[in-house]
Symmetry: C2
Subunit: 320 residues, 2 copies
């Protein structure tokens, strides 16, 4: 990312009389650790960052989450700006002020709420985005269609393909980015600290996080969310919350984005259950799930039993 856009960003800032220092971090979920965080702290110290200084996160969600958490905690909080370069970060991670690093035992266990001063989204940077990254981001886009924005869902259904950027007309791409950002911002503005409504955004994420952990991130975030949405949809079906027709429409969209629909056979189901149990969405020992009621409408349920989840997890496996 830095190779492509770092120079232009730095030059632009220098042109505006900012004093700019750069730190390159390895991307990828497995680097979202305390170790990398402390690299940022060490540089913040070396660069003599002050309370009036600003961190700029140029990159995907991992870079944004870590930079945001470093900014949230350096000198007890300095400003930062998100410049997301992946579709996933543009529609999700960069908006809403959730920052975090992973703990050895689970994702995002250490973090803070810290709003960026600005989120700068430039669709042009997506041209260098690898295909797999693009597809996995579509899972989050589809998510907004299910939980919040029926019109977005229908737009996606009308698009001939969803698996590659070059098949998405620029107008549609812009409309997708706009609608996702609006949905996320609307939800976060009503519930910044995730006391209620914001939890809707976790649709597909509860099991998804477990799949990421259990596959040691071989299944990436978006892919895991896609599988998680399929399984949540199956739970909703089982609980007669929504129709077989809705379930099929969701499966079709996920398949159109060429995202996996099932958990790889190599993933240990016990590990997924273990990760679920230690997930921060567990309150009072009960499993909390976001389940759909209709296209564009979802709710939070605190009553999903572990037995049902285990049963659905079995269905969700790739057959060997």
């Amino acid at each position: 990312m830095f190779a492509h856009y770092g120079g232009a960003l730095s030059q632009g800032l220098v042109g505006e009389d900012f004093e700019v220092r750069e730190l390159l971090l390895a991307p990828g979920e497995r680097f979202k650790t305390a170790r990398t965080l402390h690299k940022i702290y060490d540089c913040a110290q070396e660069f003599h960052l002050e309370r009036s200084s600003l961190m700029v996160a140029l990159g995907g969600g991992v870079i944004g989450d870590m930079t945001g958490f470093a900014a949230a905690t350096w000198l007890r909080g300095i400003d930062f700006i998100q410049v997301p370069t992946s579709l996933l970060a543009m529609v999700d991670a960069a908006i809403g002020g959730k920052t975090a690093i992973n703990h050895a035992q689970g994702k995002n266990l250490i973090g803070a709420f810290h709003q960026p001063r600005l989120v700068w989204i430039d669709p042009q940077v997506l041209s260098t985005l690898p295909g797999r990254e693009f597809r996995s981001a579509m899972a989050e886009v589809i998510k907004y269609g299910v939980i919040w924005d029926e019109e977005l869902f229908c737009l996606l259904e009308q698009s001939p393909r969803l698996d590659q950027l070059r098949y998405i007309p620029p107008d549609l791409l812009q409309e997708i980015l706009r609608r996702c950002a609006q949905a996320k911002a609307a939800i976060v503005m009503q519930d910044e600290k995730e006391k209620g409504l914001r939890a809707l955004l976790n649709f597909g994420h509860t099991i998804g996080h477990g799949i990421e952990t259990a596959t040691h991130y071989q299944v990436n975030h978006g892919e895991a969310v896609g599988i998680g949405m399929v399984l949540a949809s199956q739970i909703a079906l089982h609980l007669q919350l929504w129709s077989e027709d809705c379930h099929q429409r969701l499966l079709n969209l996920i398949a159109k984005a060429k995202l996996p629909l099932t958990i790889p056979a190599t993933a240990d189901r016990g590990e997924i259950v273990q990760a679920l149990m230690s997930d921060k969405k567990v309150e009072g020992g009960k499993l909390r799930f976001v389940l759909p009621r209709a296209i564009g409408e979802a709710d939070i349920f605190d009553t999903v039993s572990l037995d049902l989840v285990k049963q659905i997890l079995t269905i969700g496996y790739t057959k060997n």
Copy 2:
């Protein structure tokens, strides 16, 4: 601390139907590190702390700061309670929501603002407080007299001794605790995030932190603040902000608490200056100082030159 009061606290909580787990941490500034913080995180994970869980910090300022920061960042923030067991923590660290750990290059560089749900102050626990700890806390008590509460300053002047708990009448002790807590709360409520007024609380701390760093915490926090107040008072004298009489009254109180008035000869002045330069109170390269105008009144000055500070630092040294 835990040996004295941990059992009673745990039993009390269990009696109120809390499920209690305990983690003992080594006290002392040198343990206020990322390493100890991660011990807390590991236990939070092992104990399956949830968003509705609560951390209780039983101990001095270091324990409170670290526990508070762990609570601020575990699952992006859970509740915590301060049960300060040192005079220093009671009058200062436990109130106001500043939490932090140290960076190898400076104190409190990594932290968050996170208000405790409750600060539980029980003067009885001070009976086990070592004498040196009691004396160094008096530096912060004297500070409130200088920056905020003239009546407190006069009360301290009237007390026959300030160097040992047993010479302070219980009524006076209670009045001191009350006035310090009130002063701190009043200041923090007006300026939680230290945009202005709250910086008053840093009276004596700017050079003080440098002394702590340069002596590798051989001079403890309160002692360093005492010396820092003497030096800040000398700067104020030099700038004709306050009178020789006020300066003398401040020196007398610090001496009455049997606190050091000068920097130990073994401390490297260059290291103190270095620590000052990397301190978060440096804005735009200029040194920021809280200087007294009268007993009970202080102001924040952004214009103190490094040369003057170096000159005053020389005066502040113990003669060999």
